[in-house]
Symmetry: none
Subunit: 216 residues, 4 copies
């Protein structure tokens, strides 16, 4: 569910007693990212192993254990890096939610883009793996949330607040809850495969959410 992919610093948080970061081999880091993403795409997350990543990256296992605490951690960073690179490649465009004054249209547009992204096979495998791991592993789940989900959700919060200011939304709404009415259904359909997703579907979601299920 990424409406944007904000750039991440190479070493986002040095809360652990890491070794000397300045001597770190950037070459190995890149190779590890690439190997991790490639393996997850090729053989799936459960059959992706630290040993496999190390071998594919041409790297010693210790180099992975030195900088990451788990397979999930490697993949999360690799995926964030992938996003960063995608954003930089895309330039300024496409980040954030448009604000044309027509809330319904803006939401539909962003959700359509999200649908397209969720269908991109390059993203699917690692994204699913991370989401699944986060469901069961609270620590990874928190990181997944703050680094991947929150920034995107915040964009919706901002857009909804702007709509509220313009009087296009009920003034008493909690935007954090409001956004879930169209974002969560899409997320669940995709994650749990409860039903297929499409542009039509997200358009419908926006309509239902904005105007309610009850007759007027």
């Amino acid at each position: 569910m990424a409406a944007s992919k904000p750039t991440h610093a190479p070493a986002p948080a040095a809360d652990k007693p890491h070794p000397d970061v300045s001597r770190r081999s950037q070459r190995s880091r890149r190779a590890i990212y690439d190997a991790a993403l490639a393996l997850v795409a090729e053989v799936g997350y459960p059959r992706t192993t630290i040993e496999g990543i190390a071998a594919r990256a041409g790297v010693g296992k210790q180099t992975i254990y030195r900088w990451w605490s788990s397979k999930a951690d490697v993949l999360l960073e690799a995926f964030l890096d992938l996003g960063d690179r995608a954003v930089q490649a895309a330039g300024e465009e496409g980040v954030g939610i448009p604000d044309t004054g027509d809330l319904a249209a803006d939401l539909k547009s962003v959700l359509r883009a999200t649908v397209d992204e969720l269908r991109d096979p390059e993203f699917e495998a690692p994204y699913r793996a991370l989401a699944a791991e986060g469901v069961v592993n609270e620590q990874l789940g928190r990181a997944f949330l703050t680094e991947l989900l929150e920034p995107s959700l915040q964009l919706f919060v901002d857009r909804l607040r702007s709509a509220q200011d313009a009087g296009h939304l009920r003034a008493d709404l909690d935007p954090r809850i409001a956004l879930e009415l169209f974002v969560s259904p899409l997320a669940q359909r995709w994650l749990q495969r409860t039903a297929p997703i499409s542009h039509e579907y997200t358009d419908t979601l926006v309509d239902y959410a904005l105007h309610g299920l009850a007759p007027r």
Copy 2:
């Protein structure tokens, strides 16, 4: 997301070349269910092993491999069985969604019950584990969906249709989509821990969904 737990046949589909089902030891089966649920609750899903289940159940490993194809498979069946037993213990009451004529009240009531259930630590560990596995393992995900999720969702579909017939919902609504407006947000908050869940929260969801986000 279980508003009810319909009884399951012991072996719903014999599509695999199973050994002679009539000779199966029910004693071992029960012991395996119990061991699996206990271990997942005690040490978590990833550290629950087939070997551990077998040892705890006092059963040979082969007896597990003979009847199930994976750890997730065992847990799914054990969990379904748990649900079946809970339903039988509860008797007739509590299954299904009430239909008092007040749709909002009925939905709030069911969602409040769901919140309570999701917080029940006995359910949480295996449910989370299965959901996570289903995200990444399509086969298990399908089973999770059809055996656990669908029956509950169908109850919402039925209730929404009844409301439509009574003129309490827009006539053009697709109930399968409509229900997602209040069910999916709860599911996502719980699964991905995007925010805490509570009775007030689900009440709010129902209000937002029924009356829409836009001002009237």
Copy 3:
């Protein structure tokens, strides 16, 4: 080392509390013998299993466990039965050691026949397996000895005694030891593969043994 193969009763010794022997299925017994010999020849003794024998013989495992105490036991009986059948097929001829009055010639002739037999691939696999098992498993070793080895050795004892009576051997000889001078070397070469065996070789053994290693 079999100069002859005396006929064995179908159930040589009922020293164990066997079930009712009279109701025993001879059909299954034959099938088990055949399966055991075939498997030992095809996949070797260590990879021959009770389950494999039962499956190949079209017999329940319990039918084997009912009548035999171990894999080695099955094979020993099967091999003895094979010998019996060979003897019966051969009729009267070839059993025992000839006594032409020329001891050296008689011994050479029997040893040449033994060399030929040891080279028969049908005999080699089970014979080796039984010999090996007997080295390590004293109980089986005793049975192997009394049922297979002793009868043959006794023939040599008899022939040597006859030679002693005729004055062709030193009168003070212990025939049980004397026979080992030509029999054991052949046995060891074959069992331990210390060197190839041939008719020339056994002829030489007889010469050395009869006339001694020291110059005269």
Copy 4:
């Protein structure tokens, strides 16, 4: 049948694609040898398992599989090492066959020592196990032969040749065959338990072999 135990290089032939030998843990190797010999002595060869050896040695199973191809292989090396250590402990003495000029006395002396050795319970269990395995497993049999048997037999060949040069043996004898007349009978009695072994027995063998069975 070991008249001597020549020292063996730790890794005589690197014909297999072994891992890095220089990094090998000598501590683990010793522990594995000790565990293997102890287990074979305590519970017998068939009930000695790789897992048991690993557990007793405080070693991972993989460390055994990394360096040896089978249980028999481990035991052979452990036994050779045991011999090496025994030789080194014994110093110069006791290795080889004496040459006092009296061939009969020298042979009797060596065979008496061999009898004593064969009765040493520390040697018996592994030696028997290896011999049995070698009967059935040609590859192990070859190794058993070249590493354990041959060196000892060669000492007899040398002594017999020396006796030939001195005119104490027939000049036309093949020493490889000649030695079998007294060595093989002892081997067979011990391996196949055809009869008990003793000093008198081996003395008799030497007499019979040197002077022949026929009257002079």
